[in-house]
Amino acid sequence: MSTNDDRSSGLSRREFLKISSIAASVPLVARPRVIEVEGQEVAVHGPGPVPIMLTVNGKRLSAELEPRVTLLDALREHFDVTGPKRVCDRAECGACTVLLDGRAVYSCTTLAIEAQGKPIVTAEGLGAGEQPHPVQAAFVNNDAQQCGFCTPGFTVATKAFLDKHPHSSDAEIAHGLAGNLCRCGTYRGIRGVVAQMTGREPKGNAGTTMIAERSAASPKGGA
């Protein structure tokens, strides 16, 4: 996934921690104040709750949150948007992947405060209205999910990957989708999703081989 190299220019969690330890030594003020850090001016928020407004799946949502709250926790705990999952909570597994301004990010290592003013799209908002996004439909078509816990993040990551690599090669898939981990082992189906979406195969997952097809007594069922 392209999360890491696409990291927005906002504060990372580590940078934030560095700054917040400085902020603790300055008097608390109601609005962000500006201090100098390593020769640059930086606005200081918190440490108490500050008003935060996010645009999630086209809806404007607001809450008073501590600046240390991650985008993932803001979505899940404060706005009940639970498609993004918390699994590793440190940018290793991709289950929390959302689109921020069209780019895939790990929401567990993005601060809610820095996600303001940019459209945020989660798995729930990927499709148009009630309709699933074609990538999500392809996940069903290719049975690219089992327990489903990594799946919402994977659908978002796959969508972002396909935006960047509309004619992706196997090597690009192996590299570009390696930032999302699945424990049930659904990667073969996900390859099928990419194959289907890039028109390489109408339906990626042929499943049991031609030998099985030969011995099967009757053709495929519906649904």
Binding site: T82, G148, L177, C182, R191, T208, A216
Partner: protein, 788 residues
């Protein structure tokens, strides 16, 4: 069994969904993020729970001071889990439980609890060979010893033998005999009662050697080729993506609503009632989806119980207790390790004659069961001696991990046999085929699978003797392994209701771990009623619905399919009775197909489903389905599967790359083909993961896990898996009935990959995972061996 014909699964020509690729029925809510898991429940007024955990691998609590925490604003409940004086046997053991208004607050509160410990000696390393001179424990069994044996899945025959030989220290009437298998309960009842013996503390619990035939003579026989080796796999974790946990709330003063992330919805109330102090009937468990279990989520665990206790103390407010990733990896389950020194012998023509092994592995603090080695061939091999020593260490409690003991037994056995085949100068495929009769009742299944696996992998065309002679650092090789598993369906019940307006509902207290059980239930119901799955509503995952067994040991598919079939047949027949008159026929002459109820052989005499159901009258049809558990002819036990791996090894870096894996798998009658295939693909990937990457790395000094995160506890990613081919033995063994599939395909990958690496580089890498360091060490040993 007079009803057998009536309930038998429909023949192939009448199956529209059973055995077909019908699409996962709960696919869309999962991919769109709408599916709800325990972790996602956010009821109003939610409190967050967390534990103070023991930082030492072995310690005794001397003092607990929670006074500061109780004064913290936002802290709503504090419960002492283990009092001063308690002994903790692993790092991360739960000491104090706390609930607070938000997560940062509860983490702060956890840090504010003062606990003092007396540190005790610990052992967390399991790869060192135990001494061989420790006599087996012959002291009488306490009830705790017995519980340990159950927890560690010691085979029933072994437990019975131990009870008979060692006696017991407790009164049989004090044990829950009704909950034990009958043979064990009988052994307890007739056991000799003895006073408890003081056992000296030991890290090692050797079991008595198990022998058959004359092992020493067999090894010394002329015309015999002997291969020796050391093989092993480390402790790995379950690493469920949805960590363990529960959300509990008291809906009134004696009713508890629990959302535990569990593989056994119906079993949660019974396991919580006593500790929570209300009748099981007052506890309701609800779970829509579970984010992985793999054998580690059968009980409510401390997090489930303390979410309920904290909720009670907080006036009934819901308390969410989900483990962090580090906690998940440290305390929520390890798959026991296994190591063995093996000698194995065959005649020069390849006929296997004898096995001799000294093995050891952890079973957590209680010791534990041993892998069934030599795997697959034990019952029929004329000569064997198997010694096993359980390492009782402080790495944390073991839990069942997908196919308990089988991947270990498979790795040790199949590696040893592969090494022997090499020594005999035989192609392993021919060697296994030659000895296939030793696998007993499944020999014919393996024989059917050999040519298919061979064709799909191109084994016969591409196999070369050990050591790829291709110039350059990249060496390529093939390896194979075989496996079996029981997988008989569990006890399961359901209610199937047909309403006068034609709507159909199934209620079943089961769970779908992502294995496809919902899809399978609807496939069976749809084919029985002549409907589409979309016309049937399935309600599940709630103790308000009829009980269904836990999803472990590959028992779900057999259980839920048979109970659904029975309910659907009965409901359909009740409907036939209502509409027969209108169609001018007897109920026996009717069939339900393509959304119609019609007269067999006279398709023009038909009623649409809705019209037919309109004849039901005011009272809906309800059929209660209950399978016959262990004696239900709709299900069976004992599958055969075979896997092959094609790997490349970079001999300069030690990196192993999977080029291709082939899985050929039987599971009797396949109910849901697509999700069955997905299970096999998933198992191959999980197998690649434990073969190449996974290991719970312990620090011998601090006794802590060094990699409790997903950076250094690595899982395979989409770039690591190579080409995967799955072949299900469709329409081949339908008459055997439905058999479970969850465990079998995850058994062989480790052995197949290890054998492929040996075939590529010409030397055995003795221990999984096959990391670059281990591969390079084995290559270095090979070089030294050559120059010496």
């Amino acid at each position: 069994m007079p009803d057998l014909d009536k309930y038998s699964y429909p023949p192939p020509e009448e199956r529209n969904y059973i055995g077909r690729r019908m699409g996962r029925v709960d696919g869309l809510p999962k991919s769109t993020g709408h599916a709800k898991y325990t972790y996602d429940y956010n009821p109003k007024g939610l409190l967050y729970g967390a534990f103070v955990r023991c930082p030492y691998a072995h310690a005794r609590i001397t003092k607990i001071d929670t006074s500061e925490v109780e004064r913290m604003p936002g802290v709503k409940a504090v419960e002492i889990v283990q009092k001063p004086g308690s002994e903790n046997h692993w790092a991360g053991d739960e000491i104090v439980a706390i609930a607070a208004v938000d997560e940062p607050m509860v983490r702060d509160a956890v840090r504010a609890v003062r606990v003092e410990y007396e540190q005790l000696p610990h052992l967390v390393i399991d790869s060192q060979e135990p001494p061989r001179n420790i006599p087996p424990d012959s002291s009488p069994l306490s009830f705790e010893d017995l519980q340990d044996m159950f927890r560690n899945q010691v085979p029933g025959t072994q437990i019975v033998k131990d009870i008979r030989e060692r006696g017991i220290t407790f009164k049989p009437e004090e044990a829950p005999l009704d909950r034990m298998p009958p043979d064990i309960a009988n052994a307890v009842k007739s056991a000799k009662q003895k006073p408890p013996e003081k056992k000296p503390p030991t890290w090692y619990k050797p079991a008595a050697a198990e022998t058959q035939g004359d092992v020493d003579a067999a090894f010394q026989a002329s015309d015999t080729v002997v291969s020796e080796g050391l093989y092993g796999l480390p402790v790995i974790t379950h690493c469920c993506l949805e960590s363990h946990g529960a959300v509990s709330e008291w809906t009134d003063s004696d009713h508890l609503l629990v959302h535990a992330s569990t593989q056994y919805v119906s079993g949660i109330p019974g396991q919580m009632a006593e500790v929570v102090g209300i009748p099981a009937a007052n506890i309701r468990e609800v779970q829509e989806n579970i984010g992985g279990g793999f054998g580690s989520k059968f009980g409510p665990d401390r997090w489930g119980i303390y979410s309920a206790k904290l909720s009670k103390q907080a006036g009934g407010a819901p308390v969410k207790m989900m483990l962090s990733r580090a906690e998940e990896l440290e305390v929520a389950g390890c798959r026991p390790s296994a190591h063995a020194r093996v000698r194995v012998a065959a005649k020069k023509d390849g006929t296997l004659t004898a096995w001799d092994s000294f093995g050891w592995g952890i079973g957590g603090p209680g010791g534990g069961g041993s892998p069934p080695i030599p795997y697959l061939i034990r019952d029929r091999l004329p000569n064997y001696r198997v010694q096993w020593t359980a390492v009782v260490n402080n790495i944390g409690p073991a839990r069942a991990w997908r196919a308990p003991n089988h991947p270990q037994a498979c790795l040790i056995t199949m590696s040893a046999l592969d090494d022997l085949a090499h020594k005999l100068g035989m192609n392993p495929l021919e060697f296994f085929r030659k000895n296939i009769e030793l696998t007993g009742p499944r020999a014919n299944i393996y024989m059917d699978e050999f040519p298919i696996a061979d064709e799909l992998m191109g084994w016969s065309k591409r196999w070369h003797p050990r050591g790829d002679k291709t110039p350059g650092p990249i060496k390529r090789g093939l390896g194979m392994a075989m496996h079996t598993w029981g997988g008989r369906g569990h006890q399961s019940e359901c209610d199937l209701t047909i309403q006068p307006d034609g709507s159909v509902t199934i209620k079943m207290g089961t769970q779908d771990l992502g294995t496809g059980s919902r899809t399978a239930i609807l496939a069976v119901a749809a084919d029985t009623l002549g409907l589409t799955p979309q016309q049937i509503t399935l309600l599940y995952g709630d103790t308000q619905y009829p009980m269904s067994g836990g999803s472990g040991g590959s028992t779900t598919i057999g259980g839920v399919s048979s109970t659904t079939r029975r309910a659907a047949v009965d409901a359909r027949d009740a409907l036939f009775a209502k509409v027969a008159l209108a169609l001018g026929a007897t109920p026996e002459q009717l069939e339900a197909v393509k959304g119609q109820v019609r007269v067999k052989g006279e398709p023009s005499k038909a009623l649409g489903w809705k019209e037919a159901c309109a004849k039901i009258g005011a009272v809906p049809i309800n059929a209660h389905g209950k399978n016959l558990a262990g004696r239900d002819p709709l299900m069976n036990s004992g599958v055969g599967g075979m896997q092959m791996a094609d790997v490349s090894v970079d001999t300069e870096t030690g990196i192993v790359k999977i080029n291709k894996m082939v899985a050929v798998q039987d599971c009797g009658l396949i109910v849901s083909l697509e999700t069955a295939e997905s299970q096999c693909y998933g198992a191959l990937i999980m197998g690649i993961s434990y073969a190449l990457f996974e290991e719970k790395v312990m620090d011998p000094i601090s006794g802590r896990m060094l990699n409790p995160n997903m950076e250094f506890y690595r899982l395979a990613s989409i770039g690591d898996i190579g080409e995967l081919v799955v072949h299900m033995m469709v329409n081949k063994y339908d008459s055997r009935g439905v058999i479970g599939l969850g465990e079998p395909p995850v058994i062989s990958p480790g052995a197949a990959i290890s054998n492929a690496v040996a075939n590529a580089v010409g030397v055995r890498v003795p221990m999984l995972p096959l990391t670059p360091a281990r591969v390079l060490a084995a290559l270095e040993g090979q070089q030294k061996g050559k120059s010496a």
